[in-house]
């Protein structure tokens, strides 16, 4: 079954996010607090569009949000966005809440209100300017990672069942022949959290179900994904 995502607010930015998530196979629920956004979402062919009073907890509860759903807060008004985040965190404490912020003050408040991840538009851009000025080479790399057209990308690769990579220590596996770089991983043996390979103090081991984040050209990443599906005996 597809994952569900609730997008609160439907403006220019949220329309882009909705489109991208739909393309990634998410079942979308658009929740808005005004008629213009409601009509705009309907016009964009979204089936599950709700026009409710965002400040009313009962109405939010009636949306039947489940623990595994993603809640995306993109209300235009910063105050309302913070209020909504707090309400959602209170009603569904274990749900992932991702919020968009358009001011430094709102970013801190959204974090305090319980957002799992806050994307601060200005902070991201400010850092990009610093990068452009001080690290022009890094900027090229980041630009190609952000661009959907460029071949170079980051990819999450889950170690599949029966893969020959199972129980192999990271330092014993050479990624170089596959022309990719392992940036970090979720090593479930150590923790459920993502850790950068440059940060881990303990030695990482690759196990079935672990997630690797690799950097490389799309074709090389595809080949690598194919390659690690092999069983140990097949590889031999």
């Amino acid at each position: 079954m597809n994952k569900k995502a609730f997008i609160f607010g439907y403006e220019e930015q949220s329309a882009f996010v909705a489109k991208e998530l739909e393309r990634d196979g998410f079942r979308l629920y658009i929740v808005v607090d005004n008629k213009i956004s409601y009509e705009k979402a309907l016009k964009d062919d979204y089936k599950n569009v709700f026009h409710i009073d965002i400040t009313d907890d009962d109405m939010i509860e009636s949306l039947n949000i489940e623990g595994s759903d993603y809640l995306i807060c993109m209300m235009r008004d910063n105050h309302l966005n913070v209020f909504l985040t707090l309400s959602l965190h209170e009603l569904f404490p274990n749900t992932v809440i991702v919020a968009m912020s358009n001011s430094l003050h709102a970013t801190r408040k959204l974090k305090m209100a319980g957002a799992t991840k806050v994307i601060d538009t200005y902070q991201v851009s400010a850092n990009r300017i610093h990068n452009i000025i001080q690290h022009p080479v890094s900027t090229k790399l980041i630009d190609s990672l952000l661009s959907t057209e460029d071949e170079l990308s980051l990819r999450e690769i889950k170690i599949p069942q029966e893969s020959f990579l199972d129980k192999i220590m990271v330092e014993d596996f050479n990624f170089r022949p596959h022309k990719i770089i392992l940036i970090g991983m979720i090593d479930r043996r150590l923790s459920d959290k993502f850790e950068f390979i440059t940060r881990t103090e303990e030695k990482n081991r690759l196990d079935i179900g672990d997630t690797m984040v690799c950097l490389g050209y799309n074709s090389d990443l595809n080949n690598f994904e194919e390659y690690i599906r092999k069983r140990r005996e097949e590889r031999v």
């Binding site: 991208e20 994307i119 991201v124 300017i129 950068f196």
Partner: protein, 520 residues
């Protein structure tokens, strides 16, 4: 024939790059306050003047050794004389005026009259010779003629000559000149009071006071009293005289307060302008600096983020008073001017400095205008501009922007990544925000004599420092190579792109950025 040779000579000068660059050099060093070597020249002249004045003052009573006199007469004065001649030379260009006049005559088919451009140039030169700074320069040369002792008073002009090289005195005079009307009114009032009081005391005291023998004595008394100095060499002896004395003292206090308030108000009104001028002058001395157009949310966050990391001088140009005050309160360098104004940008030096211009306002129209304006003035400027969407991005590139940011697009993409690929989101967010706890991307330029120079990548120990080699900006290939082959040898001009915790990166750079030792 003669005129033809003169015109040919003018063209020869106009086409001689050696002549032009020589003249341009002297013009810059003498007149262009943005020229980086001018301050050295100014300092040299100031030292020379101080030495010269010291010699002239010292020898009033005590004879100085011959070599000191020789230094003052021949060295210092010769330098002053050369400077005087050079200033006269660079004041205007004879050859350009002759060429312009010749071409105009040729175009209109009328006979070329050499006297016309020559007269124009001479007129300019004479106007220069009669200007106060040039007169001071000339008079400052005169003390050299020792047989006429009275000429030594012209040593004062060497003191005045200092004005040429000290900006703060210039600024002081400029500020005072803004209150010219008030100061002249005050001066008139003071002279009126001195005159009236002087005449009054002369009338009342001339016959009773032994110290007042002429009108000059009484005017002198009034001047000393009104200035509140009061030497006491002349004092009133009659009751009438004492009353006048009291009134004059009271007026003197009022005049002094008035004078002080005029000067203070002139400075407080001009304070920000003075600061702004100084800011521009300071920036123009830098090899690289940044101009930020507008102090909106984006510029504010940019300046607040890693404010210690901004590697060079910057200035914000903002026209809105409230925003200017906010920027000042936030502690940033700001000038209250319109960033899209041609005049203000023109004041920045683009001949010797590399300029980065940030057009980060919310309005795409403003950003496009600022980009075009900056590009119009500075050819080799780097412009980072903000755009709302893809269409505006294209327009900004067309206008001449070097980089275009689309804040919402980037954050939207990150948000989508946060939902669809949460592990990868961490990487992207870390790369974009440079959080202290997360790894950073860093660049290590390879320079001659550095340990990494001529080293194969396989011989560089990235692993021990917990560093990932991401790529190489190769100078020989002229492109970025992702995950380069370990056989690659590093050359001067290459840039290594590495990733790691800040502490690892600093340690790695410390070790490998060092110069090669003999053992390496």
């Amino acid at each position: 024939m003669f005129i033809k040779s003169i015109v040919n000579f003018a063209y020869l000068l106009g086409n001689s790059s050696r002549y032009l660059s020589l003249k341009s050099f002297f013009r810059n060093i003498l007149l262009n306050s943005d020229y980086k070597y001018k301050r050295y020249f100014d300092s040299f002249m100031i030292i020379l003047i101080i030495i010269s004045i010291s010699i002239l003052v010292y020898e009033v009573k005590i004879p100085v050794p011959y070599w000191v006199d020789f230094f003052d007469i021949y060295i210092v004065t010769t330098i002053f004389l050369i400077e005087y001649i050079l200033r006269f030379w660079v004041y205007n260009d004879w050859h350009t005026t002759v060429i312009r006049e010749f071409e105009e005559s040729d175009f209109l088919g009328k006979p070329f009259i050499l006297w016309k451009p020559t007269k124009e140039v001479l007129k300019g030169k004479i106007a220069y010779l009669l200007s106060p700074p040039a007169l001071i320069d000339l008079l400052a040369i005169l003390p050299v003629y020792r047989p006429i002792r009275v000429l030594r008073i012209f040593v004062l002009f060497r003191v005045f000559k200092l004005l040429r090289y000290t900006k703060s005195i210039h600024q002081f005079i400029d500020v005072l000149s803004t209150k010219r009307f008030e100061l002249l009114t005050l001066l008139f009032l003071v002279f009126f009071l001195i005159g009236t009081a002087g005449i009054a005391i002369y009338v009342f005291e001339e016959t009773h006071n032994d110290n007042i023998n002429s009108l000059f004595d009484s005017i002198y008394w009034a001047f000393i009293t009104i200035s509140t100095v009061g030497y006491g060499d002349i004092s009133p002896v009659t009751n009438e005289g004492r009353v006048i004395s009291m009134l004059v003292t009271l007026s003197g206090i009022a005049m002094m307060s008035f004078l002080t308030s005029i000067i203070v108000s002139a400075f407080s009104e001009k304070l920000y302008q003075l600061k702004e001028n100084r800011m521009i002058e300071e920036m123009n001395k830098r090899k690289k600096f940044m101009i930020i157009g507008g102090y909106g949310q984006m510029a504010r966050v940019f300046l607040q983020t890693n404010r210690d990391m901004i590697p060079f001088e910057y200035v914000v140009l903002e026209i809105d008073k409230d925003r200017v005050n906010r920027a000042r309160k936030d502690g940033f360098n700001v000038i209250q001017e319109d960033a899209s104004s041609f005049e203000i940008l023109k004041r920045f030096n683009h001949q010797y400095s590399k300029i980065i211009f940030l057009a980060l306002t919310r309005s795409d129209i403003n950003n496009i205008y600022m980009t075009l304006n900056a590009k119009d003035i500075f050819n080799n400027i780097e412009i980072i501009s903000r755009a709302k969407d893809e269409r505006m991005r294209k327009k900004l590139y067309l206008a001449g922007a070097t980089h275009v940011l689309m804040p919402t697009m980037v954050s939207n993409r990150i948000l989508v990544t946060a939902v669809t690929q949460p592990a990868m989101y961490k990487v992207i967010y870390a790369l974009l925000t440079g959080d202290e706890k997360t790894p950073h991307l860093s660049e290590l330029p390879i320079i001659i004599n550095q340990k990494l120079m001529d080293k194969a990548l396989v011989d560089v120990d990235f692993k021990s420092y917990k560093i990932l080699l991401i790529g190489l900006e190769s100078i020989s290939e002229g492109r970025f190579i992702f995950n380069p082959s370990l056989d690659t040898t590093l050359q001067h001009g290459d840039v290594l792109l590495i990733m790691g915790q800040r502490v690892s990166l600093e340690h790695f750079k410390d070790i490998y950025s060092k110069p090669k030792s003999i053992r390496d």
